[in-house]
């Protein structure tokens, strides 16, 4: 289980990262964000700040904590990520498989897209699990 100190250190170290350096790496990284936005840390997106704080407060109160901890924030971020992922999964099923306009090879495309989404969901799920245990 990561301590608050370790989490803070990891975040500080991550801030020092320069990200992808090569031109190809930067291009690929840019495309990731354009595809579904899941590669972006939700905590770094100002649009989610209020939701994260509110959900973190609900989670902290539920575990009897007096103030909102970093773990509660992390759990809230991961939970909101899971909600986004589930919405994207439904959209993929709808457009690639169930829609009348779905291509005949839609199943193959759907399988590929869901496999990619699976990675994000697995990560968000275990991140939330760790954080909730520590709240």
């Amino acid at each position: 289980m990561s301590s608050d100190r370790k989490i803070t250190a990891n975040r500080n170290n991550a801030k020092k990262s320069t990200g992808p350096r090569s031109k190809a790496g930067r291009e690929a990284s840019r495309r990731n964000a354009r595809r579904h936005g899941l590669a972006i840390d939700i905590g770094a997106d100002p649009a989610f700040h209020e939701d994260i704080e509110q959900l973190a407060t609900v989670l902290s109160l539920s575990s009897g904590a007096q103030k909102v901890s970093e773990h509660a924030r992390e759990a809230a971020e991961a939970e909101l990520d899971l909600t986004r992922i589930r919405k994207i999964r439904a959209w993929l099923f709808e457009t690639l498989y169930f829609a009348d306009t779905a291509a005949p090879d839609g199943m193959t495309e759907l399988n590929d897209a869901l496999a990619k989404l699976e990675r994000y969901e697995r990560r968000a799920f275990s991140r939330r699990k760790r954080a909730l245990r520590a709240v």
């Binding site: 959900l55 989670l59 939970e79 899971l82 909600t83």
Partner: protein, 187 residues
């Protein structure tokens, strides 16, 4: 939807949590009221206490719903491929078929008429052919179901760490709903 599910009282997550949750992730012909009833049946038997209990319950309900959907798609694929096996394309010809037609062309008397008739396929054989034709998609769906089941079990384990009794109720309620419904659909 089974009769017992329809009569359940609708239960929703508490307001302070509900604002962060999106609409149920429904697709195709899935109906909102079915999901809400499905969710309520699980929630009513578990009676979550706090927000974390609710999050774990939502996970189990969501993943059970996904498992149910994937099983339905898998059944559809098998049915579709079975139909393909029943009515194969006239253009499809194997090497053995070709060799047979060559022999028959040279010496028609070598084969009795009934040997050249297509054999009536048994139901089991058709099912097997359906599986073979759809093996890639079926395999991918099975992997996805396994992955949902893994996460569902993880959520149940987390619930178990908080309350053994609640975890048992959650496991039983969600399994009953998924398996019961699926058996009913298959019948």
């Amino acid at each position: 939807m089974s009769r017992s599910l329809v009569t359940a009282t609708l239960i929703k997550p508490p307001k302070e949590l509900e604002q962060f949750l999106d609409d149920p992730p429904l697709v195709g012909t899935e109906r909102r009221e079915d999901y809400e009833t499905f969710f309520s049946v699980i929630a009513v038997s578990v009676k979550p206490i706090d927000a974390i209990d609710w999050l774990l319950l939502i996970d189990v309900a969501y993943l059970s719903w996904e498992i149910r959907r994937e099983r339905r798609i898998k059944a559809e694929i098998i049915k579709l491929r079975q139909r393909e096996a029943q009515f194969p394309s006239k253009l499809a010809i194997t090497r053995a078929d070709f060799a047979l037609s060559q022999i028959a062309a040279q010496d028609p008397s070598a084969f009795k008429k009934k040997d050249l008739k297509p054999e009536a396929k048994e139901a089991d054989s058709m099912l097997a052919e359906g599986y073979i034709l759809g093996d890639y998609d079926i395999d991918v769906i099975d992997k996805r179901i396994a992955s949902y089941e893994y996460r569902r079990n993880t959520a149940l384990r987390e619930m178990y760490l908080r309350s053994e009794k609640m975890a048992q109720l959650l496991e039983k309620a969600s399994s009953d709903v998924v398996d019961g419904e699926f058996t009913e659909a298959a019948e």
